[in-house]
Amino acid sequence: MLKYIFKRILMLIPVLIGVSIIVFLIMRVFSPDPAPIVLGQHATQTAVEVWRQANGLNDPIFLQYYHFITGALTGDLGTSFYTKMPVLKEIFSRFPATIELAVVAIMLASIFGILIGVVSAVKKNSIFDNAGMLLALVGVSMPIFWLGILLIIFFSGTLHWLPSSGRINPMLQPGSVTGFYLIDSLIAGNMDAFGDALRHLVLPASALAMYSMAIIARMTRSSMLETLQQDYIRTARAKGVSEGRVIRKHALRNGLIPIVTVIGLQLGSLLGGAVLTETVFSWPGIGSYTVACILKSDFPVVQGVVLLIAFVFVLVNLLVDVIYAFLDPRIKYSKKEG
């Protein structure tokens, strides 16, 4: 198993190099020249040239990439054109907010998705099934940003139940230990802050979770329907095991194996979906920050963020494969015959 994990981590390298090349080229081909944006539209031609020279933008593109990738390998992703801060620092000050949002969203999506999927499969063609699958259809069809705006209008505009933007009331902000406000506020024993952070999370996490929940619900339903037809389910029933136990212990354990893959993939795409959600909910995470940086042609930041997200995505997939081996005893990565 360790050997397998090591091999997979080695395979990360070509993936990340590929991603870095693509994002590097896209930024340089499709983004407007950053110089006038940084210096203001009235900057003189000389000032623009000097700035470009200083930031290496006049070098041949291969050389620019060479500088970028050698820097990246030593953990230096460059500095932001605007704040002049190291990109890594910029990213890590915002990344916990995004991870907190994505993790809460994937938890919501998994819990409700699996619940809806299982009930729909067990009560196939019932009113639960139809209602659940209708919800799932709406979930996959509805754009996140639109759902987000609707949630804001209804729950914070009309009902005034929940805040519409931000992570926490600034007066309650806990000291930063991990950067995750839920955890930090618990460490500080500040339950007010915890409650407030939670209230801020509800709407963006729900908006973000909706799509993944719908996908997970549909996958769970079809996986459970297939599993419930298996011979070993009949065997379990023939043993006199109660129907609830048959579903929980026998069917779900087997039916969940493919769902784990889906959840892993969804967690990856949630990081992407966070870009839209964070913008709608003014969530101070990596997503809204990236959008701002794309608009400002802040090349080093965008490159760094994309590289980081790709890294997390591949890592999550590796994690899924490792979890797989624990869920399904038939999978052995170490042996050659697999």
Partner: protein
């Protein structure tokens, strides 16, 4: 009498019509007896066993009849009450040992689940009993193999595990639904031998469902032949093989290759195909495939009649009385 099935009818409601998979069948099993139900695919033998277990899945349902086990009607019981009987007093082994065990559970956990569902004993005692059962069904080094997952075992081993599981609560009736079909011939013989030994050891009755007449002749005390959901013949194993009455049974027996047959004749084959269950022939269901078909056979369904303790559903024996049968 341990089990008495009376006028059992089981139906499948499909969009294109209702299929009566089990059509008014009655039989009994005594304590310690091995009763075989023989028939080809679709004859209703598996549906009969699932009906007894209360394991029919939609759209199947029992449309009528009684299934009385030790004088309790299983058909009238709730699923909760049936759960107390399943795996405990009546248990079942299935055709597909490869897929009938849960792939993500260890062998011991699957057997222990059966034991602990029905017996109030500790985990430790259940494990000890599990290992003892694995030993009883002939699994070598049972304490180690108990930790295996199903995919680490061969088909024959898995069928032994299924048997150990089914017998773990010492049932009074074991339903074995084609227990040897998916196995190699040598393994088939071992599993049959095992069933035989277990019957002796636990004094249980066995309902053996099979399409293999070879299996029947080796293992059964009494045989029921089913065709299209109906019992066409019932007899003890000796008289069924020495003196088959129904043309279908005769055909089945003739279509077994004989190793000492030196004639150049082709193997006998029953002509035609099993009729579409949605479109049964009027009269006897076997009439359009029968070599002895008479006009009457295409118009009415013969009744099951008893001649010398040998039951048959055929007009050929309509006038046959005890004396005439031996003259035939």
């Amino acid at each position: 009498m341990l089990l008495e099935v009376k006028n059992l009818r089981t139906e499948f409601k499909l969009k294109r019509g209702t299929v009566r998979a089990v059509d008014d069948i009655s039989f009994t099993i005594d304590k310690g007896e091995i009763l075989a139900i023989v028939g080809e695919s679709g004859s209703g033998k598996s549906v009969t066993s699932l009906s007894i277990m209360g394991l029919l899945q939609k759209p199947g349902r029992i449309a009528g009849g009684e299934i009385s086990f030790k004088s309790q009607d299983l058909n009238k019981m709730s699923q909760k009450e049936l759960q107390k009987i399943r795996g405990n007093q009546i248990s079942m082994i299935f055709q597909e040992p490869m897929t009938s065990l849960n792939p993500v559970w260890r062998i011991k956990d699957q057997i222990m689940e059966n034991i602990m569902t029905h017996m109030k004993i500790s985990k430790k005692e259940a494990l000890a009993r599990t290992i003892e059962m694995l030993d009883t069904v002939g699994i070598p080094s049972p304490a180690e193999r108990a930790n295996d997952y199903p995919h680490q075992m061969s088909g024959g081993m898995r069928q032994r595990v299924m048997t150990a599981m089914a017998l773990s609560c010492e049932p009074e009736l074991l339903i074995a639904d084609e227990p040897t079909t998916a196995l190699d011939v040598t393994i088939q013989a071992q599993i049959l031998e095992l069933l035989y030994q277990m019957r002796e050891k636990f004094h249980m009755a066995v309902l053996l469902i099979t399409h293999d007449l070879g299996v029947v002749s080796e293992a059964a005390d009494r045989v029921i032949v089913m065709y299209c959901g109906k019992i066409v013949e019932e007899a003890d194993v000796k008289s069924l093989f020495s003196q088959p009455l129904h043309p279908y049974t005769v055909g089945l027996l003739q279509s077994i290759p004989q190793i000492d047959d030196e004639s150049d004749q082709r193997l006998y084959m029953i002509k035609g195909m099993v009729p579409n269950p949605l479109n049964m022939p009027p009269g006897c269901y076997f009439s359009d495939r029968c070599d002895s078909c008479m006009e009457r056979c295409t118009q009415e369904m013969p009744e099951l009649q008893e001649i010398n303790g040998h039951k048959v559903r055929c007009f050929l024996y309509d006038k046959a009385k005890e004396g005439e049968l031996s003259a035939k």
